[in-house]
Symmetry: C3
Subunit: 263 residues, 3 copies
């Protein structure tokens, strides 16, 4: 309920409020269009946003506002869309995503969507952090204790990938083990379930369905529910376009059905 209230307050910013977050948005070189800007081009578009996205989608059960924020931010970074990012990062903080989690999401997506995508997200995040006085003490340290590793599962993964690609591209295989699965994925300030949610969202948002099977299974192993996975598709339809949602739908269906049968 508190989260929902925060969401509604945050949305009101778009409709003409004048809080810190709104000021943030107008400062960038490419500022986010206002309601008036949108209406001057496409009045129906603004009404769809108001009624369907803000009035329905974000308030639906099935996926919490906090998770919707994680998914939206991941989609925008994966698609390198920075104009609306300050707004959605501010909304993410309002919805309960911690600054340390924002920091880890950007770091994670450097690897999963390309380094420049993470670099392009830095100015927006910096702006939002500065406006809210979020300093180094709220950010994850460079090094420190890691989450425990499931050695058997990781060895199995590494063996499989090594057999497939070790001869062809040993460097890619080694980086994947050393930097990704034995380091990045074990950083404690983003829960494994959320790290998988970010990864799956980025894959769907960029049309890279081939790897959704592995990462969605991983997400569900770590606690993402079947309903959340379905609702994720409905949410990403708006933020990554209908075709990306429908390209992923058969893969999501297949993962969910195989997991049901296996039980």
């Amino acid at each position: 309920m508190k989260r929902l209230a925060a969401t509604l307050v945050s949305f009101s910013l778009i409709a003409g409020g004048a809080s810190a977050a709104e000021r943030t948005i107008t400062e960038g070189a490419n500022r986010m269009p206002t309601s008036a800007d949108i209406r001057a081009v496409a009045p129906a578009l603004e009404t769809y946003a108001q009624q369907v996205i803000r009035g329905d989608l974000w308030n639906r059960p099935g996926l919490s506002p906090r998770d919707r924020s994680v998914v939206t931010v991941a989609a925008l970074i994966a698609r390198d869309q920075t104009v609306e990012l300050p707004h959605y990062l501010a909304l993410a903080l309002d919805n309960g995503v911690k600054p340390a989690e924002v920091s880890e999401i950007i770091t994670h997506l450097a690897f999963y969507t390309g380094w420049a995508n993470a670099m392009d997200a830095i100015p927006a995040a910096r702006e939002v952090f500065v406006n809210r006085n979020i300093g180094a003490d709220q950010l994850p340290p460079v090094a420190g204790p890691k989450l425990p590793l499931d050695e058997a599962a990781e060895r199995q993964r590494a063996t499989r990938v090594g057999e497939q690609f070790g001869q062809i591209t040993p460097r890619l295989v080694n980086y994947t083990t050393d930097v990704l699965f034995r380091d990045l994925w074990l950083r404690p300030d983003l829960a494994p379930r959320d790290r998988s949610l970010v990864t799956v969202s980025a894959l769907i948002a960029t049309g890279q369905v081939a790897q959704v099977t592995y990462h969605l299974n991983r997400a569900m192993d770590n606690g993402l529910t079947r309903d959340e996975a379905g609702e994720l598709l409905g949410h990403l339809a708006f933020y990554a376009g209908w075709p990306n949602a429908f390209s992923a739908a058969p893969v999501v269906k297949d993962v969910i059905e195989k997991r049901s049968t296996a039980k």
Copy 2:
């Protein structure tokens, strides 16, 4: 012939004219490079643009300058490329695309390419509309009479999609029916054939060939000719890159051949 003249006049803007459209282009934060800018980096590139794109492609029969404008604007918005958008939106109006159609194209692509793509197109469209004194009276209303719906065909589509994905992602399935096929697609200010042309262009321009079959059939049901479909690929090769055109070519071929056999 009048259209061709408009096209040539519009192109002359790039080569050094000083009309309203040109001034529009230089106002943005990231202005479109001039001929001189391009020659300072790649003289051959500017010559290809002059001889092949402006001198040949846009003047070819098979696809009208008006349709080429629709396709180009759809490709740029789908690929979130906004720097050249003010120029191509101005050219679209010169080529006979109505302001109401521009408005509907952007609204349509919010759903078919992602909300942020539409948002990122707003400033360019607003700039062009302001420069031409295009006001609210020339824009489609938020609500109003809709085009007639083919209830049987829509029920068939909804049943098929519902059977496939209704269990997994009911929200996506419902939004698709209620917001897209029983609302967006029935808005009267963009003809169904043009709405399909925009959709197919966006799909090809972003490499999402899986859904080209459905939407190209729909486009051809609504009047897109076989020659126009072929010419579309030649046009998109320049605006979305050769690989996207060639990835779509087998799908376009398959659709055209199956329709010929069926007759």
Copy 3:
């Protein structure tokens, strides 16, 4: 060794130097984030960049710093990521890529990634060229002597593509022969092996694996080694994201294995 030194000098720019290249970077509307900017959001991200990318990846054998620059610039242009482009173009020149090659890479990618991608790369290249006093005398001429054409191989390619798509999209087929394979690919200021390296990098960086087989074979026919192809995947994992590298890995493997068997 000289190249490596140049690389290290160039990297020091990011870490706080104040050379011409650094000044270049800060002039753009969307400037590249500094180390301090990155640390203010994600300290770990900056450490990964320092230790893994700058400290290891670029110094690895298997792919020269010059080739890594070609690959990185191609990936950024293909993905339309311009913020870091001035830095990587400056680094490319430091690493031995000639201005004429930069010019040809941009021209080549206009066709292979979409015209707007090339247009969006012009300001960055112009900035770097101006800063280094690179004038028209160092750029490839619009026309001039071409590389020799393997008539038999080209006729075979043209026949194959013509049979597949000549009926459906004659214009695309003709442009491919006349503008691409009998003109663009024969321009002498970018070696065929490098032109293929640029093409393959762009395809992998945008997830368009369907055409990697043809172009990687062509690259290897023109001298790209098996080790370089494998190292390319490790490099692109960072600049285009892990999923794109892993989507391409089976295709690269298949090409390399089939070539081994054929010998």
